[in-house]
């Protein structure tokens, strides 16, 4: 695990969150663990930015929270993608793909 996790590219946190929640509904800690695992420890979220993003997405109606029991019988708020969130995720993924390809072309140009 690297000591200093990288900063996220500006504006990508929301997309990552949506992607994570697209797999299954999850609580805050679960999300952070999942992102860390999937990125192989490159991205580590502190609680502040994570919950800010969650609140932002919930206000925009892209995700929806619900209090549930965890497997360790603790109460936690589970977030799930709404239909709108689904749409946003696919559109953002497409857009991101385009941008990455474009950036790569620019960087590779000599």
């Amino acid at each position: 695990m690297p000591n200093k996790p990288s900063d996220l590219v500006q504006g990508t946190l929301d997309m990552l969150l949506l992607k994570t929640l697209a797999l299954e509904p999850m609580h805050g800690y679960g999300i952070s663990v999942r992102i860390e695992q999937m990125s192989r420890g490159v991205f580590r979220l502190n609680a502040g930015s994570l919950f800010l993003a969650i609140q932002r997405l919930e206000r925009a109606g892209l995700i929806k929270g619900e209090w549930k029991e965890t497997e360790n019988s603790r109460r936690a708020k589970y977030y799930a993608l709404t239909e709108q969130g689904q749409k946003r995720l696919s559109s953002e993924t497409r857009e991101w793909g385009k941008q990455v390809a474009a950036i790569a072309r620019i960087l590779e140009a000599s």
Partner: protein
Amino acid sequence: MSLLRNIASRLRSLLEKKRAAGELDEELYGFLEMAAEEKTKQGMTPKEALRAVRLERGTLEATKEIIHSAGWAFLLETCWQDFCYGLRALRKSPGFAVLGVLILALGIGANTAVFSVVHAVLLRPLPYNDPDRLAMLWVSDTRSVGWAVSDGSTSYQDYLEWRRQVHSFQDLAVFYKRGWSVVTLTGEEPKKVQGAFVSSNFFPLMGVPPLLGRAFTEEELRRRERLIVLSYGVWQSRFGGSPEALGQKLYIDGKPWQVVGVMPPEFRFPFLAGNWEDHIEDEVQLWAPLTTNPSDEPSASGSLNVTRSPGKARFQVVGRLKPTVSIGTAQNEMDTIARRLAGEYPDSNKTLGVRVRRLDEYIAGEMRRPLLLLSLCVLLLLLIACTNLATLSLARGVARARELAVRAAIGATRMRVVRQLLTESALLAILAGGTGLLLAGPTVRMIVALSPVNIPRLDETRMDAAVLAFSFLLALLCSLAFGLVPARRFSACDPHELLKTGQQSTATNTLPMQGLLVGAQFALSLVLLVSAGLLIRSFVKVLEIDPGFRPDHILTVRMLVSDPDAAPRGRIADYYQRVLERLRQIPGVQAAGTVSNIFFLEENRNHALRQVEGHPAEPEANWTPLVWAQIGGDYFRAMGIPLLKGRYFHSLDGPGSPPVAIVNQTLAKRYWPGEDPIGKRLKGFDPRGQNDDWVTVVGLVADMRSHGLERAPMAEIYEAQAQSGEATPNLVVRTSSGPVLPAETIRATLRSLDKGVILSGIETMQDVLHEQTAPRRFQAWLMGLFSSLALLLAAAGVYGVIHYFVAQRIPEIGIRMAFGASRTDIVVLLLRRAVRFAGTGLAVGLALAYWSASLLKKMLFGITDTDPLSFVGALSLLVLAALAATYFPARRATRVDPMVALRYE
């Protein structure tokens, strides 16, 4: 849609803040606990795990703060916090708060007052429909030098030609003013009222419909129907604002006129523009059809006096431009038309041009320059006030540097500290704005009271919404102006350094900045003081002028016989005769006389005598202003104008005897330099040439400044009223000693001889002269006031800085004194400091003042724009102020006990 939802949910969260906060707490706590559990599974003790999580993910409190600070609620909340904190900070240093508020309130108050005047006189749109497209047109004579802007009159024939030919204007309307004596049916005492005869398209052109009733039609105008439209004022005062007024009769000069309409209160036209004879009470109150002036002989064609003779040109023309036409285009077209007319009618129009000017500029007229000057002055004053406050804030900020350092050390960002400081200055500025508004009220009243009577629309000055908005904006701008310097200065401090060393090191660093600000105050104050000095000196010079007569103990009255156009000449002369005889019997009356006009204050056209015996005709290039005046009774003795040679008129100079005249020195010098004018013969100028008699000069009198105190006397010829037969409505009565004749006595005397006589302008001669100098008095007073405030502020600025400097340097002074420095040394040290601050400012200010004085050149009288007295006076005042302001802190410094001072270290 999503924006709406966003706002809604944020508002909800603001309302349900508590509940939401509870849930968030639980969620965050769960998050951290789960993270800690994970760590314990990896073998950490719970305590270690919790610490690790806090380090990695942030503490619960920090996280909450981060989330919280992202919302609006947070912004509002911190603003409120800043506000409360600022209030507390101001309360904690009441001296600074009160001083700051007062200083700024002076600046804002002065600006608000002047702005409300400028707003009323220059900025507010005129009360007509689409006033930007209205323009005045008038004839200018290319021969004359400086022919009056405000009162070139046009002949009716020219108006008709213009109207027929012009394309730039939608329409042109014509009008002229005339004094009327008015009675209502109830038979009150006649009152002189100013009226105007207007063409039928006048009201539609101005675009203001009557409040009540209607205006008159072209058809009625052609039929010469005596109809009248009332001003709101007359409607209120004479008819009690009753709608029944419509259709009623009003007796004007003995004839009945039917009321058809009432104009709304804001409708005033024509506005008075720079005419001394007409005072504010003589504003136009009635509008009648152009054709109904009883003195116009109805001619067969039904058209008006169409003579081209300039003497009969009495009409004024107002026009409405077509929407896309600029004033410049209109002027060009009128120039072309004028040239065409000059070609067609060379006799009358050869030298005539046309001037076109926007109506609002025409009305504001000569007040533009003084008002703009005044605005500049108060703006300078505000700048000084802001600079002053910035110095104060700097000084205070040094004392607070430690507090700010602590705030920075516990995590306030630089932005946050700047915001905090700006909030404090905004708070101060708003308080000052409020106080300034309170000050502005009386200041406006003072300005209006001091102002010369001829500022159009000044009486409409109000503290309205625009003025409020202006002062509020001004306050905010000021807070930025004086708050930004200290805020930038202190937010940039390194908290570590500050906390380690305390205040001393940074304190000395702000001194150059304070010195700079004080210097700026001195520079600006010098500009103001020099300008004020120049204007005050000019005013004094004007007051020192010998008017050419003795204005003490004189009462003047204007008496109009009720129907001057109808009354036979002989009857008027007879009335004057009886008035003078009756007055002479009143004890204390030394002399009484009548005159056609005492003063000719407007620009006068250049004229020459038609013929002077033994002289060739005078070339036009040599012409200068020349006037004829008609006098009756003991006019010269009543005025105190000395007779230098020859004789006064006497009772034998009548209609039957050979015409005689008395001339003044200027005229005598112009035609007979070095010769005795008595017995010389001359003939009048053109329009007066109805009979070709030679007029013999029988007397020579001293010059009087009838052309205005500030202008050189002009050539004047006096005729005897008995011979010329023209009206001499101005009565001049001199009493031997003691107070002037009571107005009541004179009123009663004149009324007893003619019940219908209209009396106006009952004033002492001193008051008349006072009015003539009113514009200068106005400028001198206000400039004096504002520059003294500037002086005060500059002195306060120096005082503040030196006082502060002393407070900071007490240990140093103690050491110096311990090592043997004398009190004089200490004082010299401080004086040197003060002189360095003020001196640089004064040097810069001198250059600025030199430049600004050159801008004032046109407004000066009797002195040059480099008047040494004004410059030296202003400089020494400021130097004195700087010395006095240094003296008190310096005295404190010399009383420092070295032992006590050293204990501080």
